[in-house]
Amino acid sequence: MFSEFAALIVLLPVIAFVLTLFLGKKLYSGGALLPIAAIAGSFIISVGIFFEIFPNDGMVQQSFPWFAGMNIGILIDPLAIVMLMMVTFVSLLIHIYAVGYMSHDPAKPRYFAETSLFTAAMLSVILSDNILQFFISWELVGLCSFLLIGFWYHKPSAAAAAKKAFLVTRVGDVLFLAGIVLLYVNMKLLIDNGTLVVESQSFILQFRTMFEAIPLMDGTQLTYITLLFFGGAIGKSGQFPLHGWLPDAMEGPTTVSALIHAATMVTAGVYLVARTFPMFVATPSTISAGVPDSLLIVTYVGGFTALFAATMGLVMNDIKRVLAYSTVSQLGYMMLALGTAGTVLGAKAVGISMFHLISHAFFKALLFLCAGSVIHAVGTNDIREMGGLFSKMKITATTMLIAALALAGFGLPFEGLGMPIMNIGTAGFFSKDAIIEGAMEYGEVTHDMIPYGFAVIAALLTSIYIFRLWFMTFTGKPRSERHSHESPGVMTGPLMILAIFALLFGFSQAGFYGYVEKNFELMDVNIAVHEGEAFHPSALVILLPVIVGVLGLLISYLIYNKRIIDMSKLVSAGNPIYKLLLNRYYEPKLGANIIGVKLTHDVVAQSGEFIDRKIIDGLVIDNIISNTLLKLGEIVRKLQTGVVQNYASVTIFGVALLLIILRLIFGGT
């Protein structure tokens, strides 16, 4: 019954967007209730569909022709339904929270309209059944992100951050589009020479048709296509080297950071790779034996990003930036999971990666909302000016601690140690351990332990930076005179709900894997699984993630709470590593100065200007073309004398001229 209303999942927020935009000013709290009601509706439909399709492994597929062999359609398979439920749920909570957080902002209607449109676009990404619609929605998501990062557009830093985010993700989007074009060309070739048959109810560029074409396609082409897709994912999910925009994106309201730059939009990149996963798996292995080329690159980019971003998270002083780097790092984990587990476990990798994606969405949204609550209370982003807030903000502090424990992956792996007790732990424990184990197994099979190294070291750093954040914010003595208070119920309510999920979501692990694994079976795609020898990790391997987590907590505790180790010597002595990290590996400078100023402005733009000014305009007199056009316009305008006799003469003259021309062309008879 709910399945028939699948389109409403997207349409409700769209309607809310239109209504809020035009009527928001007149409604309660800038029209916040409309998007909340609409997204609640989408959530209910999503959950309803889940309960309809879950028992019998069903799918929802609706599609109708659009133009030129393309279609618009809905595909709700296990992969999509778990994302749908997560996005509508988190978005709903954040919208409720925003009623409190944005209460003092005069531009509320614009805010709620834009977040509503954003939610609609993201939902449309999720349930697209073809790559073209996916791309269009993906672009719309990017546009909304641009609008929301620059929400306080009168702030120059916000405007600059919005621009940066837009431009950097655009690099990825162009690659993605190029991938789609290449895919289309390849499929068209297959159709033209008759190897691929598109049935009457199917359409080219539909995921199902794309997967059918995989075995027919040339392997090298497939590698190019998947790598171009992955380029899009790198841009959207802030992977190295296009990660720079995400921390800057924190210039928007904190709710936007939580919604877009933690829980939903940035996961679109991971979702893209998961969606087209059969294509990644099918790429040939030329670089490393047994590892599909594209997955190898996904592994390394993801793993390196996980570590690289974590190092920068260690030294940031802006509470939201720490979380932003943490997001980049965790997205790296998701990519790593797709790459490593994809090589050794096949379709199960999608389950592992998506599970981390969703548990991350819960605890990262929670972290951001807690940060928002702190910022709302003390009025600064700088953790050096906070401290001792625990007694004043008990709910925020406790929920944030839960989220931090989840991020660091705290838990007790009884089962793995052979004890007859089930594992107990936070959501992050279940989801991250699986990734690290997957990396270990990858190492065993391919004798390449580097990704495993990335994962473990990053886990240690993650634990250090998140507890540094927590200790500096909530413990010790207040470091500045600020009046702080606990946030209102409309804000703490969502915190507590998310905290419950951050604690308990992990227990659904087995069921989740089992369900999402089936995704590609339902799509009639066979994913070859490399059967390695049975993998029995040693106790140390199983315990290691937890050990590094506790170790990180301990280090942070000693440095930032007990102050036993004096950090000031390390950080202030002009230590080059500290400076390197604090300056974010000079990436913004490199990006801005070398690529932005030197390359783009000095070389490309200047030479363009040189050509424009000196050659095109300089050869002839100043601005000859534009001036001529304008002057020509003026002159011709004067032909329009307004005297009707002249008009008649022109008409007759035209007739005569046409006659002469035709006469000249044909000659005479």
């Binding site: 002249n646 008009y647 008649a648």
Partner: protein
């Protein structure tokens, strides 16, 4: 004989006479309802039209009128434009004591255009042409106390009569050569006998016909009347002229010229290419320096006529479909844009009863704040006119340019690539003057209060906006319709 297929025309004709009769009977105040009556009649006729289906071919009255996909598409265009104009007129001519005549003439001109769309005989073509022209001459001068309106009407009338005379002369030559006025019969004659149109007489006839149709299409050099007339006429009439009556020229040209050119295989591509290029470049270049928005729209519609004329250059099925699509899109965008200008006029007159040049670009400053719906609609129309997706303007241009590019891939006709490049450069140039108005509307500060936009204008503009965007988002059925129409011409 079964006249169901002509139900729309019959309905509108009867309605026109009923309105005249009612105008005699009711008092001046009640005349406001005549607009609603006309709108209802047009709505009913569109229902009939669509109900009759867009495919199939039937001929009537000794083969002098036909109903086929081509006629249906253009009738659809004419009725939609009339609906938009009539709805806007409800506000524009509110409390005008001559409303009855206005609506009757508007309906009759619509019928005239529809007859041209169906014409399969030179005589019925001419009769339809004249019916539409005569009615619109009067409509253009409908603001009797406004000298600009009278001047517009007079110029339109004089040049229109000249063109009609030329066209009629051309037709008589054709009759003299072939002994028939039936279009298929004429084509057949040219096919069988080898008396080709390359003869002096043939060229003369063709040029005269081009001049006659070109007047309505407003292609260079038969365009001179258009800017003056569009500027001076009431905005709602300008909408009808630019969006509807102009397309009448195109459907006539499609019917007569394309068939003739295909049949006799005369190679006058170059001539049409030059005309099309001249027309679009001239329109765009002159539009740049206009301060009157109505004049700017007039020149932009000359430029659009240039794009549509490209269909005559290659004459493939795809390119004619593109021309038909662009005609459909242009009808919606241009009608909507003129209505938006009417709202601005209303706004300016609200501020100051004696204001002149209400369509000066200065009055558009801050329109985004003063009349948000109008500004937004105009924004959409301008983007669509500039050919930015997803809009009807984009689809039309895309199909048209694409079809020419395909032809240009054949080595023999590779010169067509130059035409495409010039057309695309022209499109880019047009963004300049559209963007200028958009800047006025959204960047510059408003110079007055926010107004309440009258409901009829809003409805009229929204119809056009929905059509413009709708075709852009879901082009498939419209492309199919245009291809069916092109198929009729047997190219």
């Amino acid at each position: 004989m079964n006249f169901t297929l002509f139900a729309p025309e019959i309905l509108l004709t009867v309605l026109a006479f009923v309105i005249i009769l009612m105008g005699l009977l009711v008092n001046d105040k009640s005349k406001n309802m005549l607009g609603y009556l006309s709108a209802a009649g047009l709505l009913a006729s569109i229902v009939y039209l669509v109900g009759n289906g867009m495919t199939g071919k039937t001929s009537y009255f000794y083969d002098s009128l036909v109903v086929d996909p081509l006629s249906q598409v253009f009738k659809l265009i004419f009725i939609i434009v009339s609906i938009i104009a009539v709805i806007a007129s409800i506000e524009y001519f509110k409390n005008n004591r001559n409303q009855d005549e206005y609506y009757a003439l508007l309906l009759l001109s619509t019928v005239g255009m529809m007859v041209v769309a169906s014409a399969n005989d030179l005589i019925s073509l001419f009769v339809g042409f004249e019916l539409a022209s005569m009615s619109t001459y009067v409509l253009a001068g409908f603001e009797k106390k406004n000298p600009a309106s009278l001047e517009a009407a007079l110029k339109y009338f004089i040049i229109g009569s000249l063109s009609s005379a030329l066209m009629l002369f051309g037709m008589s030559i054709v009759y003299g050569m072939t002994g028939s006025t039936n279009i298929p019969a004429i084509i057949e004659f040219f096919k069988v006998t080898h008396l080709s149109a390359e003869s002096s007489l043939g060229i003369l006839a063709m040029v005269f016909l081009v001049a006659g149709f070109g007047f309505k299409m407003a292609i260079v050099p038969f365009h001179m009347w258009a800017p003056d007339t569009y500027e001076g006429s009431p905005s709602v009439v300008s909408a009808l002229l630019a969006a509807g009556s102009k397309k009448m020229g195109f459907v006539a040209a499609f019917r007569v010229l394309i068939l003739a050119l295909v049949a006799i295989k005369v190679d006058i591509q170059y001539t049409f290419a030059i005309l099309a290029i001249l027309t679009m470049s001239y329109g765009n270049i002159v539009a740049i320096s206009q301060r009157s928005i109505k004049r700017m729209l007039a020149y932009s519609s000359i430029a659009q006529a240039g794009y549509i004329s490209l269909a005559f250059v290659v004459m493939t099925q795809m390119s004619i479909a593109g021309g038909v699509l662009l005609a459909l899109g242009h009808a919606l965008m241009k009608a909507g844009a003129f209505i938006a200008v009417a709202v601005v006029g209303y706004m300016v007159l609200n501020d100051n009863k004696n204001a002149k040049n209400s369509d000066d670009i200065g009055n558009f400053a801050g329109l985004g704040k003063r009349a948000p719906i109008t500004a937004f609609s105009l924004f959409i129309f301008f983007l669509a006119l500039a050919g930015i997706p997803p809009s009807a303007g984009f689809i039309g241009k895309f199909v048209l340019f694409y079809s020419i590019t395909v032809e240009a891939l054949t080595p023999a006709t590779s010169w067509l690539l130059i035409i495409v490049i010039i057309a695309i450069l022209n499109s880019a140039l047009s963004i300049y003057y559209y963007a200028r108005v958009i800047r006025y509307m959204y960047v510059l500060p408003p110079n007055g209060e926010t107004i309440r936009e009258p409901a009829p204008y809003v409805v009229a503009m929204l119809i056009a906006v929905i059509g413009t965007i709708g075709i852009g988002l879901y082009p498939e059925p419209f492309v199919q319709m245009a291809i069916n129409a092109a198929h009729v011409l047997g190219v």
